[in-house]
Symmetry: C2
Subunit: 526 residues, 2 copies
């Protein structure tokens, strides 16, 4: 077991021959909690990249025409990656294999990204969170993007998408992949568009496949591909309030209308699958027609595309290529469940991966919150991965603080969804923190918190003294007046009443009191 | 119509003889939106307080033994307050009266708080948000608390609770009420406890009624009273992870156990009602046994108390005293709906007023988000008012920035709930903002945003130039590559295709295209 420092009050530990990581929190009462950890090995040289954890596993399996985890799973093979995931998630390796085999979960793991620590995306596992980074035509350098990657995984990003569209797109991606302990996703059409000088109508399947090949060679783990934007759906967006808001969707829409032909990603889908299976790149089938505002939610364009994504899922599965499905967007609360229900139905239970959804349009600057609400709800209904939204959404490019705020809001949403689904063990951390809260173990409360630094800082803003961290009160009520303290007294009183009752021979009554509480105290009717 | 400045990009206007306020946003295209406004008259001298808007209305109705809005409503009288509310909410005055008469809504309006602008709390109206302020034994002065009040209503607080527990409790409350355009709530047991030197067992109904009298005379609009903490429920909390977390609940529990008697608030409930009806103070029946963590949610203690609150509701209604019911607390997503369903059932549809609920315990420092998720969900199920939670919850006393963050998170939750309930007109602001977004009207986007200052600041962080505010692109995609711009082209293309089709005599086809979109483009089967 090796250890490296990470978030304050905890340490990264790796267990077993596979080196499965956890974040270990040791409480002041001696108890330990092992939390899911995405930080990756710490302290490496970013110019050299992370150690290639999976290199030997991949080499041992040897070359072949189909190297996908789904391919192995369907042949009954449990890969090291599946065993790794099973330990990480606390389930049986056979369960991991089964879920991958039927397509209900994906394990995105390009053979050329051996640095990644295997993780799984599926609704019978912990809900995951994706962070988006990447430069655009305006601003941000390669070191800045690598720093955003490291920062994202520090705050719990399970996958990271590199959405770069500007210069140095290849070099930026290379630096990100080599330093990423989590799967990396991209939207290849962005780079393909660069190759045709930004003119969508000049795109074709050859330049697209060339781009896929380049990125697959680098080690990208999943591709967002907008193959469901069909010619016949495009006019359905004409009367929308915000039309087509997906960049990939609008590129393909423009291509389709320019040529008056069907989307080449759709018509050449089999060739795309054939390429991806050789690297085990997973599909993230893009929702190019997702609604960009409340008014456009759950419309014919959106659900039409969803049906097509379901068709494409089956085609990908014929070649054992792993698939997840992207989802909206902007959706009011009462229309969220329908998205999940239809996705499960039309896409044959392939994992759903949603952006938010934002539950209102009126709070730019706070869309990490408008969307964390939707994300928690759709996660509780079964969405497997949530794509974060930062406070800068709709307004500008996120900086480090925005990335952190987005990540925290989404880790909250994901965890709230895990609790709602009754995910085994999910509540352990809540219980440990609440117990620490009741017992005034402030240090433990900080260390168990999602953000120990902020928790401590906020506490210390009112009561900075060290003594206040062991005191049996806090700043909300002050020393004389504390409900937690009073509860303890109530508990003591209740216990001594029970003991007294037992002494005077009221054994049955006493037992009743302890077991059920109510009877001894039943008051006369008013 | 008078006007006063308020949030940037808008102005407060008051309409009609009653002076109903709205916040008017004028867009660059000449359109105007009237938004609900809680700011109150601006620019007054805080040492003198706000103008007494309701003074003449109250005087005209004259003295009496029962001055509650429910009393009038049940006698078929539509008060000025009800008419005011009807204009504010955009509904018929008769509907307001009916909802109050049957107890499904309350209009908290103490006759001694004539400064308040009438508002209504009920699930068939806009979802409201309460802000908590108040000093504690540790820190904060009277001017600071008045500043927090003004700050709360600036960000949309519909009511404010003064939870002061320290020195100068009377003077602080006086300053708050005289300067508050929104109803003020309190938890009178806090002051009663001060009067018996902080020893709960010394409390009795006389000191409590004396406190109610003092506060009712000052103009408090609603009282949180923990009359449902019955002796027999207390032992039900002994095995909880966090016991009793409500301050009022723990005080009453200690009293009950100390005396081994039934809660005096319960046994003397009729006397409390008799006092409150003379001032029209509304009940906020406190949930003294609300769960303080995920593990304790929806337990026997909590739901036992809820049934008792339902009994008390009927008793209050016998005297025409208005009632709302307080709710949790900490509740995982899958247990939220049960709270709403049982509250409606047991409490005869009296309005529900919930704290959050927090959907996980693990994010101290971010509990405005953990709880905004729960608040949006329970609001969408019918909760009438949401009590905000600030980022400092569980850690320390909120400062101004915390109050703002809590308010914004909760205004988002309330609005998301209004949308989910299909509240008439709620979506207008979303549509206006999204239309402005699609049309690159940046100034309008800022001015329609919940927080215009932050929206502008975030935009300008990437693109500070004035020209960028009229440019047809933003920093997310840059000038060459913009999905909104491409959508506009798609729309133009679609329109010209339709026009061309019409010209060549394909009128029916063209119509089909424009109406339904899909047919013309239907692609050959793959």
């Amino acid at each position: 077991m090796s250890t490296t420092p990470t978030i304050p009050g905890s340490r990264r530990v790796t267990t077993g021959e596979l080196g499965v990581p956890f974040r270990e929190v040791t409480l002041t009462n001696g108890e330990q909690l092992h939390l899911y950890d995405t930080n990756g090995p710490q302290g490496h040289d970013v110019t050299k990249g992370l150690p290639p954890l999976r290199k030997a596993w991949i080499a041992r399996r040897g070359p072949g025409e189909n190297l996908t985890q789904m391919h192995y799973a369907r042949r009954g093979i449990i890969t090291e990656e599946m065993r790794f995931v099973a330990i990480r998630e606390g389930c049986a390796p056979e369960f991991v294999r089964d879920e991958i085999a039927v397509g209900r979960a994906i394990l995105p793991a390009n053979i050329n990204h051996p640095e990644s620590e295997p993780m799984i995306i599926g609704r019978n596992f912990l809900v995951k969170v994706n962070s988006n980074i990447g430069n655009s035509a305006i601003g941000s350098s390669i070191p800045e993007e690598v720093e955003k990657l490291t920062w994202s995984v520090k705050w719990g990003a399970d996958t990271v998408m590199d959405l770069s569209t500007g210069k140095q797109i290849h070099e930026t991606r290379e630096a990100i992949i080599r330093n990423s302990p989590v799967p990396i996703g991209t939207v290849p059409i962005y780079q393909a568009l660069e190759k045709v000088k930004g003119r969508p109508e000049k795109l074709d399947i050859e330049v697209f496949l060339e781009t896929l090949h380049e990125q697959a060679e680098q080690g990208v783990d999943y591709f967002t591909i907008h193959a469901g934007v069909l010619l016949r759906y495009i006019p359905l967006t004409a009367k929308r309030v915000t039309g087509i808001v997906s960049r990939g969707g609008s590129i393909m829409a423009k291509w389709c209308l320019s040529h008056h032909k069907e989307n080449f990603l759709y018509t050449h889908f089999d060739r795309i699958c054939a390429l991806m299976k050789r690297y085990d790149v997973s599909f993230s089938l893009g929702d190019g027609l997702r609604p960009g505002c409340i008014a456009d939610a759950n419309d014919a364009a959106q659900f039409g595309e969803l049906i097509t994504l379901g068709e494409l899922t089956k085609l990908a599965w014929e070649q054992d290529v792993q698939v997840m499905i992207e989802g909206p967007g902007h959706v009011p609360i009462h229309k969220i469940k329908e998205n999940m229900d239809l996705q499960l139905k039309h896409c044959h239970e392939a994992p759903f991966y949603t952006l938010g959804p934002l539950t209102t349009d009126i709070a730019p600057g706070y869309d990490h919150i408008t969307s964390a609400i939707g994300a928690a709800i759709i996660g509780s209904h079964g969405t497997a991965m949530l794509c974060y939204v930062t406070p800068k959404e709709h307004l500008g490019l996120p900086d480090k603080e925005d990335v952190k705020q987005g990540m925290i809001a989404y880790k909250i949403a994901a965890h709230a969804a895990d609790l709602a689904k009754g995910h085994p063990g999910a509540q352990d951390r809540d219980d440990a923190l609440s117990k620490a809260r009741f017992e005034f173990r402030w240090e433990d409360q900080f260390n168990l918190a999602m953000d120990p630094e902020i928790a401590r800082q906020y506490h210390d803003a009112t009561l900075p003294a060290d003594a206040a961290k062991t005191a049996h009160f806090c700043s909300m009520c002050g020393p004389k007046f504390c409900s937690m303290e009073i509860t303890q007294q109530v508990r003591d009183m209740a216990a001594s009443e029970a003991a007294a009752a037992a002494k005077t021979g009221m054994d049955e009554k006493s037992k009743e009191f302890v077991e059920k509480g109510a009877e001894i105290y039943s008051a006369p009717a008013k």
